[in-house]
């Protein structure tokens, strides 16, 4: 049985800080995706939403919320939550539904409105809550990314300039992307001049949070053929594996890794694309373009190695050589990445797939990766969530 489905529509509401409701971003993205696919909303028989935990009950039931906003028409519905991987989980749910023959056309959708100001933990003494505990002892979010970044410097000899290079490259990529929030060609000096947040990471090394919405219309290969879109990009693999005990990398919000006294230490990030390559039956050498989760600049380098685009420790060299720029051997984050978007959690993994869809169709204009045939995404959320999606044409 084929494991492929077609992507016939992609749509995004531009990222930013718009101050509107997440439902509006999602509906606009959905309408763009429906128009792109050239189908009617009533043709959708499965709505797969990625939840947001920030917008009350409508966010918890995002699938139903979007279905109602677009107009109840009896479609089946699903709402997935998997932190940063929520969008991929929603796509995975739609794929399984289609491959099982229970739906022909699905809408995959996620949107978020970020809160104003700092996202503070709930009040009170809550020593049972790992998130409360780590904040109480002074371990903030950037800590984790900074520890990974510093580890690269200590082990591979990466420098802060290397990290800044990631930012400069992604800023150049996203400069002309109409969906991106930050469109400025930052320089090495801009990055070096920004305030240190968590050594070695500066403000411009870490990504912001944004409002945004993204949507995909996916369908069976038969349906795509029927409506004259047999050549649409296809989803060739989705990996949503969980970690394997003993998980060796310290993850937000934990204060400790698993103990590896009775089971070998395992790398979760590396396991994600590994499963995707196996499922797609291809290897890293086949990849034309990658969209990875640059929550920090340094993390993009980790992902390059986890995706096996280079050997461990070689990512900074690839970057310095220009291999990951558009026009290089293996462009990474042609969209501009999180550096230019800022994360809109439930929409972000879907936005990665939107970008690859446009790349594989050759519709990316100034940021087009010439001849892109295979694209891969990677991201990692909290609590053992992560994903890697492979598209091909």
């Amino acid at each position: 049985m084929t494991q492929e489905i077609a992507i016939i529509g992609a749509g995004m509401h531009p990222w930013g800080k718009w101050g509107r409701k997440f439902v509006e971003y999602g509906v606009e993205a959905a309408r763009e995706a429906l128009a792109d696919a050239g189908i009617n909303w009533r043709d959708v028989d499965f709505v797969s939403g990625a939840a947001t935990m920030r917008c009350g009950y409508p966010g918890y039931v995002a699938g139903a919320t979007f279905a109602q906003a677009l107009g109840w028409q009896g479609a089946e519905v699903n709402t997935s939550y998997a932190a940063c991987a929520s969008g991929s989980q929603a796509l995975a749910a739609a794929r399984a539904k289609i491959l099982a023959g229970q739906a022909e056309v699905a809408l995959v959708i996620g949107a978020d409105t970020t809160p104003k100001g700092f996202l503070a933990p709930a009040k009170g003494e809550r020593p049972d809550d790992p998130d409360w505990v780590r904040f109480r002892v002074g371990i903030t979010n950037p800590t984790y990314f900074a520890l990974y970044a510093r580890r690269r410097m200590e082990i591979y000899g990466d420098t802060q300039e290397d990290f800044a290079r990631v930012k400069v490259k992604n800023a150049a990529h996203g400069f002309t992307n109409p969906k991106a929030r930050y469109r400025k060609q930052f320089t090495m000096e801009d990055v070096a001049g920004s305030a240190m947040v968590a050594d070695p990471l500066r403000l411009m090394d870490v990504c912001a949070t944004s409002d945004g919405g993204a949507a995909l219309i996916v369908c069976s290969l038969d349906y795509a053929k029927k409506i004259g879109k047999a050549n649409a990009p296809r989803v060739a693999a989705i990996s949503t594996v969980t970690p394997t005990f003993a998980s060796a990398v310290i993850e937000m919000p934990d204060l400790a890794t698993d103990s590896a006294v009775v089971a070998d230490a395992q790398s979760f990030r590396a396991a994600l694309p590994k499963k995707a390559y196996e499922e797609a039956g291809i290897g890293p050498e086949d990849v034309s373009v990658a969209e990875v989760y640059d929550l920090s600049t340094a993390l993009e380098l980790d992902w390059m190695e986890d995706l096996q685009l280079c050997a461990r420790g070689d990512a900074a060299k690839l970057l310095r050589d220009g291999a990951t720029k558009i026009g290089g051997r293996i462009p990474v984050n042609p969209s501009g990445g999180l550096a230019c978007f800022g994360e809109a959690v439930p929409a972000q993994a879907i936005a990665q797939v939107c970008e690859l869809t446009w790349q594989l169709r050759g519709q990316s204009g100034d940021r087009q990766v010439e001849g892109a045939k295979v694209g891969i995404t990677a991201n990692q959320g909290l609590f053992g969530h992560g994903s890697s999606v492979i598209l091909k044409r």
Binding site: V137, I139, L147, V197, A198, P200, A246, L255, A256
Partner: protein, 148 residues
């Protein structure tokens, strides 16, 4: 000196001359957990739910490090004016796990380097209720003043 102070988290660590973090050890497979684990062993090949409370190794090796340049949000209580502090991820040899914690006051990232031997100590941090602060575990380089 600081022996009168209360711990910032009850049951997370011992105080005194040779402070140690308090973890759990599965009585069946021997896996360690920090903080203490209740319920079920997280080793997928172990179905045990009995744990013993254990003191974890007091010393380890610096895996990586960073610092907090901005005042963290609540429930962290920061001194005013805020003073940046370093943070260490330390690998314990016996338990084969990495544990986070602040680095003792006065030691900055420029004095740290992966591989340094580190030791667990307790120091006070500010608290909303206790004027003298509360005790927390911190990591301290074992070579005087760090390796720099």
């Amino acid at each position: 000196m600081s022996d009168e102070l209360k711990p910032v988290l009850e049951g997370f660590f011992t105080t005194g001359d040779k402070p140690a973090l308090l973890g759990s050890r599965c009585t069946k497979c021997g896996t360690y957990y920090f903080p203490k684990l209740e319920g079920f062993c997280r080793n997928p090949d172990c179905d045990c739910s009995q744990f013993e409370s254990v003191e974890l190794s007091r010393t380890g090796t610096l895996w990586s490090f960073t610092n907090a340049c901005y005042k963290p949000p609540e429930p962290y209580v920061a001194a005013e004016p805020f003073e940046p502090y370093a943070i260490a991820a330390v690998e314990l040899d016996k338990e084969k796990m990495v544990i986070l914690g602040q680095v003792v006051a006065g030691v900055g990232v420029d004095q740290l380097k992966a591989g340094l031997p580190m030791e667990l100590v307790v120091e006070s941090i500010p608290d909303l209720v206790e004027p003298a602060g509360k005790l927390v575990w911190k990591w301290k380089p074992m070579t005087e003043g760090g390796a720099a």
